[in-house]
């Protein structure tokens, strides 16, 4: 691998812009440059030659947009474009010295959850480019100008799984230091390094001067060779023409600075020409390349949030069905909203990382894990800990995870280590190692430390850095094994000292079976933190536990200037007063006024002396009817109606808990499937209908947005549903609504469909075969009420 050698020892000089040179030859705005590989190859070869002549050691193929979506109507296939482009670059090199980089740019459509393209779909699009690039003889793969970390991951995986070529990877940042989709430079480095790219860095968008702070941050962090391809300044539009104003001299001077600090792969992007590259090559020719030695430290991330394990970090434990009836119910019903509310509550309470466990014998864990992770990462930005002992589940989860995750867990058994550690390495995750093996949990601290040592050694043999191994010394129950509780703490200290790894521990087990569990938990947590625990796995909604951590961080100088502590506790007295104040409103008034926060408490109180059904029929429904009437008369408007509906939903939380606790009959006025049709991403209208239907006691199976007709039919058949609500907001997606209705009617003739959305009206709805038209959310409740009364 000559290129990989070169990366270790010297500089690699890339070419400059293709587009800018093409525009100089008369390419018009909006024309597809990839087509020129075939129709006007001499122009392309000539540009490559100019760069080679200027001193570039790598030329980049003219394939930035050579993906199947962008080439769709061009008359040229991906394979033709890539093959011609590689051939052109090869011909330009001729017998000379030079490498061909297969250029891969962004697809041009956004991935879920921002857009409608699925991760696997994106992967397939990139794979097509990679496979042909390899076949045509490219020497390396350049994935560049990425702004979405998720799309980047799809591209990197496609490159690594379908070739052995070196992968160079750059993203494009704004001056804010983030990409258009909010990805930070740190998250990029952590994730791309984990996925095993050969070089990583920044290109496009900014000029070399604006890029400086960004490159500094990346050089600080990365031990992977760093790549820099700036524009020739920020574009200025003069008389309708885009100009880049950084001269070759200024450009080369800035690039010298990057090289001095350790950048190894240098080239240009928009606005740079062979003149820029010539001076760059001359400058680098007089310099020695520097090797980066820094290590990453322990950290996990999502695109928008990096969590460094350099202080105590809280892992929230509540996404776990063990011992929770309502959670199990939610999993069985596929009620992701319930799980999302658990997640949101934990993050708002202060969780830094969320553990995700969805293992339940009755459900398909793999499918559910993927769904939950996709949904979680679409709304919250804290990193996740994938909690499963099934390697299949772990791999699926790691693949679709956006960032760097933790896997919980492996233990000292060889069979498990050999199955899971390769996945950790491949996807660049961190892993929790439990100090137990086939013989159980060693009674002594020494025994546990020994297993920890084995796990660390094995991880390193797979190329995983020990900073990515978090050891769990396992909490034992004081009621059963009182003598061994201290061994856990001893082991924790020992593991930290001897192995220098981070530690993780589920805390609340210690108090199982004893009264006043909170007291034992807090005391044990304090002791564990003192022993060096980095990652307590706790319930963040347990304020007492959080108090301990917040105080610990002050006393151990982790919360500098007590800033966070003061922020949290400055109003403690006032808060206590507010909370202890009795609720002054009755439930009906609370609903009418939409006082969401008071609903739960008021309902719990009512339920002390009333049956759930009495509360629903005596308080909730009359209040809702009143609010609904007001809305229909125009006395209140939509947000006020929704506020009341959400208030009712909070009341229902209490009711459901009571029902679960007393095993009384469920409240269900009818089951309805709701979905936003394929191609449409406007979700809010459907969600409004949902919350309103739920507040009236209907069971809603929410399939989300961009839902294919097959999935809708599937849910209808599986759950025996007779009423479906479909939403579409765009004229372009109403046709998918029509197809969905036809599909449902064909395969499930008894099923009825109500539709809604801004572009629809009564006659339009009828013309596409809908049974009911819901003018607004309230109307959909009327339709459902009538439907289930009649049927």
């Amino acid at each position: 691998m000559e290129l990989r050698e070169r990366l270790k020892n010297g500089f690699i000089i890339f070419d400059g812009a293709m587009g800018t040179m093409l525009q100089d030859t008369g390419l018009k705005a909006g024309e597809l440059p990839e087509v020129l590989n075939i129709r006007n190859r001499d122009v392309i070869i000539d540009i490559h030659k100019k760069y080679l002549d200027a001193g570039a050691t790598v030329v980049t193929t003219n394939t930035f947009g050579a993906n199947e979506l962008k080439l769709k109507n061009s008359g040229v296939t991906v394979e033709e474009a890539v093959d011609a482009a590689v051939a052109n670059a090869r011909e330009a090199i001729g017998a000379g010295d030079g490498h061909v980089a297969l250029d891969i740019g962004p697809i041009g459509e956004l991935l879920k959850p921002m857009g409608t393209l699925s991760f696997e779909n994106a992967y397939d699009i990139f794979r097509r480019q990679v496979v042909q690039g390899v076949k045509s003889g490219a020497d390396l793969i350049l994935i560049e100008t990425m702004t979405d970390l998720y799309e980047s991951k799809a591209a990197i995986l496609a490159a690594k799984e379908n070739s052995d070529l070196p992968v160079f990877f750059t993203m494009s940042f704004e001056e804010s230091g983030r990409t258009f989709t909010g990805c930070s430079a740190e998250a990029m480095v952590i994730t791309a390094r984990g996925l095993g790219v050969d070089a990583l860095g920044v290109n496009c968008s900014l000029g070399p001067i604006e890029m400086k702070p960004l490159i500094d941050r990346i050089l600080e962090l990365s031990d992977v060779p760093v790549m820099v391809q700036p524009n020739a300044g920020i574009p200025v539009v003069v008389n309708g023409k885009t100009e880049y104003r950084v001269t070759p001299e200024e450009f080369a001077e800035c690039m010298r600075g990057f090289a001095e600090k350790g950048a190894r792969v240098l080239g240009g992007c928009c606005g740079t020409t062979d003149r820029h590259i010539r001076l760059l090559a001359e400058t680098l020719g007089t310099m020695e390349a520097r090797t980066l030695e820094k290590k990453m430290g322990s950290s996990v991330c999502t695109p928008t949030k990096v969590v460094k394990i350099d202080e105590v970090r809280i892992i929230g434990e509540r996404i776990n069905p063990t011992g929770k009836k309502l959670f199990k119910e939610a999993l069985k019903k596929g009620d992701l909203d319930y799980i999302m509310r658990e997640a949101i509550a934990q993050v708002e309470a202060g969780a830094d990382i969320l553990d995700v466990n969805v293992g339940l014998p009755e459900i398909d864990e793999e499918e559910m894990m993927v769904k939950v992770i996709e949904e979680l990462q679409s709304i919250i930005d804290v990193p996740l800990q994938i909690d499963s002992n099934n390697p299949g589940v772990i791999e699926k989860a790691l693949r679709i995870y956006n960032g760097k995750a933790i896997v919980n867990s492996v233990n000292g058994e060889d069979e498990i280590l050999d199955r899971v550690l390769p996945l950790i390495k491949k996807y660049g995750a961190a892993v929790v190692g439990l100090t137990l093996d086939s013989k159980g949990i060693p009674a002594t601290a020494e025994g546990r430390c020994e297993i920890a040592g084995k796990i660390v050694k094995k991880a390193e043999s797979y190329g995983i850095d020990r900073s990515d191994v978090y050891i769990d010394c396992l909490t034992l129950t004081a009621a059963a094994q009182q003598k061994e509780v201290r061994e856990t703490l001893k082991a924790l200290e020992m593991v930290k000292e001897k192995l220098g790894v981070k530690t993780v521990l589920g805390v609340s087990n210690v108090s199982f079976g004893l009264p006043n569990r909170g007291l034992l938990n807090r005391t044990f947590l304090t002791a564990a933190l003192t022993a060096g625990l980095d990652l307590p796995i706790i319930n963040p909604l347990d304020k007492g536990m959080l108090d301990v951590i917040n105080a610990f961080k002050v006393l151990w100088f982790q919360d500098e200037n007590c800033e966070k502590y003061v922020e949290i506790y400055k109003n403690t007295e006032g808060e206590a007063l507010k909370k202890s104040g009795p609720g002054v409103h009755g439930l009906a008034e609370i609903i009418e006024k939409g006082l969401k926060e008071e609903a739960l408490g008021a309902t719990v109180k009512l339920l002390e002396n009333s049956e759930p059904l009495e509360v629903i029929n005596g308080y909730i429904i009359p209040a809702l009817d009143l609010v609904g009437d007001k809305y229909e008369k125009g006395d209140i408007f939509l947000p006020q109606l929704i506020q009341s509906a959400e208030t009712v939903r909070n009341a229902f939380t209490a009711i459901k808990e009571k029902i679960a606790a007393t095993s009384s009959e469920e409240v269900n006025k009818g089951r309805i499937v709701l979905a936003t049709v394929k191609g449409d991403v406007h979700d809010i209208g459907k969600n409004i209908v949902k919350v309103l239907l739920e507040s009236y006691g209907f069971e809603v199976i929410d399939l989300g947005k961009d839902v294919p007709k097959e999935a809708i039919l599937g849910a209808v058949l599986e759950k025996d549903v007779r009423l479906v609500g479909l939403s579409a907001l765009m004229t372009t997606t109403v046709c998918n609504m029509e197809e969905t209705i036809a599909h449902l009617k064909e395969h499930c003739p008894g099923c009825r469909v109500m539709v809604g959305g801004a572009v629809l009206n009564e006659s339009y709805a009828e013309s596409i075969g809908a049974d009911f038209y819901g003018r607004d959310a309230k109307e959909s409740v009327n339709i459902a009420n009538e439907f289930f009364e009649l049927n």
């Binding site: 705005a29 909006g30 959850p113 209140i636 939509l638 809010i684």
Partner: protein, 220 residues
């Protein structure tokens, strides 16, 4: 693009407000959302002027580089010798926050969504004002904004529209396979450059679909 103010009245209009009492609670929520939006919106835009070279059955820009089909756009640009193509977006963070609140607090999601709609419109107004002030010659004016999907201008030109402006690379604006602009709080539009001032009134007046539109301005 700084200091573009969100018009509270517009926010309420998008929320379906007619003349109901708003109430202290909702009033506070609207203010809160307007404030929160300021922190997460990152308005960006890109504009380019094109000469109109043919107007047979469609408006042709720069000798067929880009075609704007339909009678409505022909009429809209009838007094213009050139036009400006504009693409503007609030960025993806806004979408993300709305998505979050749809799960955490739906009422807030609804209000924040309305604030964002009001803001992107205000941003577009500002862009047009700036163009008139800075780029147009004495006596020249912009027509109102005309977007793909208005009247008979097909929404199917959305992708090509963005390509012509290189909007993906320049401002991170894309279109889905069903031509939905993403990030969602975004606008693409054509404005004619005309010698006379035909008035840049609201988009509603220029659109042929107001009969079925729930959001049309009441005065229209």
């Amino acid at each position: 693009m700084e200091n573009v103010e969100i018009d509270r009245k517009e926010v309420l209009r998008y929320l379906g407000h007619r003349n109901q009492a708003v109430g202290e609670r909702l009033e506070r929520l609207v203010c809160e959302c307007m404030e929160e939006l300021k922190g997460i919106a990152a308005p960006k835009y890109i504009c380019r002027t094109f000469g109109i070279t043919d107007r047979d059955r469609s408006v042709s820009l720069e000798n067929g580089l880009f075609e704007l089909p339909g009678q409505a756009i022909l009429k809209h640009l009838s007094a213009s010798g050139s036009c400006v193509l504009m693409a503007a977006t609030l960025g993806s963070e806004v979408d993300k926050k709305i998505r979050y609140y749809e799960k955490a607090d739906l009422t807030k999601a609804l209000v924040l969504d309305a604030c964002a709609t009001a803001l992107i419109e205000a941003v577009c107004d500002r862009i047009c004002e700036d163009i008139e002030k800075e780029d147009l010659a004495e006596g020249e004016h912009l027509t109102s904004r005309f977007s793909p999907g208005y009247g008979d201008l097909p929404i199917g030109i959305q992708k090509r529209f963005l390509e012509v402006l290189d909007a993906g690379r320049r401002i991170g604006l894309t279109a889905s396979s069903t031509n939905i602009l993403l990030p969602r709080k975004s606008v693409t539009a054509v404005m004619g450059i005309a010698a006379e001032n035909c008035g840049r009134k609201s988009g509603c007046a220029a659109c042929g679909k107001t009969r079925e539109c729930a959001y049309k301005k009441m005065e229209d």
